[in-house]
Each structure stands twice: as structure tokens, then as C-alpha cells.
Subunit: 318 residues, 2 copies
């Protein structure tokens, strides 16, 4: 199968425009064309996944298809943006039809679930690498940024933390227990909090998605906003499965493990109070923003925050 | 050097906004933000370059920096779009400072020359692979597309063709002749025809950039427009250097070799006549669009046109 057949068969079906999408021309020309409604800003983010770095060798192609778009779309959730469309640059060693079918299936499920139409792409031969760029819209000036946290703001997170990190120990299990299956599902099929992001945008002062671990990602908010934070470990939202699987290690995973793709948001207290109950129910308050720099857990400085606390592609290898 | 230092040192300097750019927030948050003036469409394209496939192993990093953005920007030229900003997903085996310095220098020169500000990116460890997405704007509905060619339209190309293809024979020369140096410059530092594309947009009926060879790329226009074309080989614009270096092989290179990044445009005759002399001077008419399908050179069918005539990443390997 040639490059053009491959694109036609597996990827063009993902290009069908979602209702009301701003995409006016999809794949097939030198560029795609997007037309934004008046008063909307475009928000966009590019992410790369490399085999053996971001996902295991011989990773299930269905999961990879879902996961690659979920990870990218999570950046839209963090900005409070409405998902619109995405591009896919796929580098793969050979045109293996079984693999492509699985990958395209997982990707199509995610595209449908997240409301993202394929706008264009590039398919090349080489070591398995995926780069996706996602596009969303926010009403002008209303994106949730990292630099808006102020002293006194509440720090809240969505869902439960640490599950995807705990899953790493079970990736090769052929018959996982129910608890292991629950955390594996979090790793294989992350759910970007897109609706939550859109709902939170009018109330949140700052936000980020948790890809590298809560401490590292909250650290980025603190650095950009030039503030500190105090967290209570007793408030961390932990799933029953995580607690049963990892016991006393659960809070550490919730603080430092990545891949959960939950949101960490800050709210001025009065805006938190005025937020709809349906929004607040999806979030757990875990601490407060402080004027003094530093990231304290139960009153103890919990080490370097910011860029140094999370995953660093090059530091690891040196 | 860690991932964040690397980004700060080498790439953030490229993020300074050009005058009048639509980029309102660049790198550093989960997403970048672009705000388009009323009446403007966004056009965008993603391209991947893989070491050993799209450029030689141990290729000069300065050239690679320039070339990667030039190749991507050429798609904006083909749509007649005004360049605005770009994202860079860089996968590299290690953080080699000499390499990064050269790459960032070449990239910065290109960004400056083309008027493209860095909007965001992702840096990961892995086999050397570059994916760039470029963003441009066109006034609403005025993009040059592939499907607009009609019988009777003139087929024209910019610059000279075949030079970059001829350069492949000289890539390892340490002291190239003046002619070899001239074609090597075309390969190493392609010049996307951005201003030409913008100037041609009100007059052209269809267009594409020549990345895979004239026959292959014109074939895409013919396929999308459901028309054929007749070309005259005597009209092909050939550089004196190409003719001296390759003699009788020059027209074949002009027809089938890639990497020139010139534009192939079609014009209804009356719009061609009304186009400014300054635009027409940059173009050479090489043939006409016909109602009957097929691509004829000097009256002879010149083989499969369309997708099969050019470079195919997967067909080659099977």
C-alpha cells in the first residue's frame, strides 16, 4: 500500500467535520483552512510521542491512537478551549495494515469522543513517532493561563491522581486484577477534561493539565504566577483501586507520577463560591496559593518545584 | 543542559512577535493563542523531516534549521497566504550544544526572512525528527486551492526547476565548482515563494508548491481539478548552472526532481493579462490546461501523473 492509499483508507474518514466546526477545508490541499467566528481566539498546541520514550515498544495501536489524541487534547482542556480540529504527523517504519487499522480505530474513537476533526497531516517513513497539533477556540481573552494565580486562591484538581502512574507496574500483566485493570484503563485511555475546562474557564484564575505529575505541573503555575502554594496531603483525591494496590505509596504517586491528564486549577474564593455545583462536584480543593514562593505539603517544603520536579527528556539521559 | 534550559536558550529568542503578527501568546503555556483580524481565514500545514529520509545523516544543522522552516512555509506560499507563526516539535537523540546552536541559528534566519514567529513547540528525546506546523492568513475565501484549474488556463512556474535535484550529486563535495555551489545553495537554502504567492492569489485559479517534482505536483492539481494539461519542454525554465552541469538531462530533472520549492500556478488567460507585470516577470508559462485528462509533454503522454509520479514514502520500500 502506498502513502496516498494509506491516507485515503485510514485517515480521510476522520476528516468529516463535526457539527459547527470552524474547519472549512480539511486534508488534501497544501494547507487546511479554518474560519473562526468573530470574537473567538484560536488556541493550539503541538505534542510528540516517541516509541520507547512516551509509550512502550510494541504498544497496542488502538490504545496509541486514543492516547496520542487524548494527550494533545488535554492541553486544550487546560486552556478552557472548545475542541475544533487537529493535524497528525505520523512517522512509521512500514505500512503495516493491521497496525494502521488499530491505530486509526483508536484515533477515530478519540476524535469522535472529543469533537476533533482531522484537518491535515503528513505521513513519513522512519522510527515510530507521532506529532499531533490540536486547535480549539475560546471567547476572546478568556483562555485559562498559567500566570493568573493570586495569593488566597484555592488550588483544586479534577478526578483522582496517581492511577496512571500506578499502572506502569501492570503494563505486561495478561490477566490483571480488577484494581489493576482500573488503573491500566487510566493509562491506556486517558480522558482529557475538555468539558470541565470549558465550564471552569469563567471562574478559574489559572490552570494546567497534569501530565508530568502534580508537583511539577503546579510548579509551572507557581513559577508563571510568581507565587507559592500550600497543599494538604490528606485532601489528595485517591481512587480506591490506587489505595488498595499501592497502600502507603498512594499519596506519593498522586503527587509525583504523570500521565493522569487531570486538571489543576486555581480559583479566587469568591469565584469558587459562585461556580455551579455541577462544576465544583468534579473538583477537589487540595490547598491554597500563598504570596511567598515555595511549594509546601503539610507544612514541609516538598523539594524543588517547577521545571525540575517533573520529567525532563534530556536531564534523564545525561 | 535540561529540556527547559535548552528551550529557553535556543528557541525562546525566536518567539518575538513580528510587527502586526496575529500571535497574542507564544510559548510557555499549555497552548499558544492567535487572534485573527475580521475577514481573515487561518491556513495551516504540518510537515515532518526525518534524518536519512528527508535530509542526509549528519546534515549541517544550520542548513537543517533553514530548510525545515522553508519547506513548511512553502505550503503557505502555495495557498497565497501571509505567514504568521509556526510550531516546532523537535525530537533529537541528545542535547548537543554545537548542533543546537547551529540549528537554532538557521531556523532563526529563516523565521526572520519569512516573517514567522515561533508560537510553541515540544522537545523530546529520540531519533532526529522535525515536525513543523506553519500558520498563515488569507482574506476570507481567497486561498489558492488545487481544485480551481479550468480548461484554457495557463500553467506557469516560478524561478528555475531541477536545480535542487541536480545538487544531490554534489552533497559530499568539499570544493564544489561555482555551478555546483549554485545548485547546492538551492538544495540547502530553499526560498519559499511567499511574496509571490500573496501577489498571485487574486489572479491564480489553482496552485501548488513543487516539492516532489513538477509532473507529480502538477498531477495533484489535475486530479483535484479533474482536468488535463499540455506542456512544452522547450519552455521549462532552466538555470544556466543546471544546463552546464547536466546537459541533456536538465529537462528531465526539471520535470521529475523535487526539492525546488518553486510554485506551479494556473491562470485564466484574461486574469493573466490583467496581472501586474512585476508578478508575470517572476513566472514562466509552460503550458495550458485541457478538458481531457492526461499530462502531455510536447504532445506525448508523459506517464502516470498524479500521486504515482512523485516520491512515495511507503511504495519505495515495498
Amino acid at each position: 500500500m502506498g502513502e496516498f492509499d494509506l491516507i485515503r483508507r485510514y485517515f480521510l474518514p476522520l476528516a468529516s467535520r463535526q457539527q459547527g466546526s470552524s474547519l472549512v477545508m480539511g486534508p488534501g490541499d497544501d494547507c487546511a483552512i479554518q474560519r473562526l467566528p468573530a470574537g473567538q481566539d484560536l488556541v493550539f498546541s503541538i505534542d510528540t510521542l516517541v516509541e520507547g520514550v512516551h509509550f512502550p515498544h510494541r504498544y497496542h495501536p488502538d490504545y496509541l491512537g486514543w492516547r496520542s489524541l487524548a494527550v494533545a487534547a488535554s492541553d486544550l482542556a487546560a486552556m478552557g478551549a472548545q475542541p475544533e480540529c487537529f493535524t497528525l504527523a505520523l512517522t512509521l517504519p512500514k505500512a503495516d495494515e493491521d497496525w494502521l487499522e488499530g491505530f486509526a480505530r483508536g484515533l477515530a474513537e478519540a476524535a469522535q469522543a472529543f469533537g476533533l476533526a482531522l484537518a491535515g497531516g503528513d505521513t513519513t517513513a522512519g522510527p515510530l513517532t507521532l506529532t499531533l497539533q490540536v486547535h480549539g477556540t475560546v471567547s476572546r481573552g478568556n483562555a485559562i493561563c498559567r500566570n493568573g494565580a493570586r495569593p488566597g486562591d484555592l488550588v483544586a484538581v479534577s478526578g483522582t491522581l496517581g492511577d496512571a502512574g500506578a499502572a506502569l507496574a501492570y503494563l505486561s500483566e495478561t490477566e490483571p486484577s480488577a484494581d489493576a485493570a482500573a488503573v491500566l484503563e487510566r493509562y491506556h485511555r486517558p480522558q482529557p477534561r475538555l468539558q470541565l475546562g470549558v465550564a471552569a474557564a469563567p471562574f478559574a484564575s489559572a490552570g494546567i493539565d497534569i501530565s508530568d505529575g502534580l508537583l511539577a505541573d503546579l510548579g509551572h503555575i507557581l513559577e508563571a504566577s510568581e507565587v507559592g502554594a500550600r497543599l494538604e496531603s490528606g485532601s489528595l483525591p485517591l481512587s480506591p483501586a490506587l489505595v488498595r494496590l499501592t497502600g502507603e505509596r498512594a499519596p506519593e504517586l498522586a503527587l509525583r507520577a504523570g500521565d493522569d491528564y487531570e486538571l489543576c486549577l486555581t480559583f479566587p474564593p469568591e469565584r469558587w463560591e459562585s461556580a455551579p455545583e455541577a462544576l465544583r462536584r468534579q473538583l477537589t480543593v487540595i490547598g491554597t496559593i500563598e504570596a511567598a514562593p515555595g511549594l509546601y505539603l503539610d507544612g514541609t517544603d516538598c523539594g524543588p518545584s517547577g521545571p525540575d520536579a517533573g520529567f525532563d527528556h534530556f536531564r534523564r539521559r545525561q
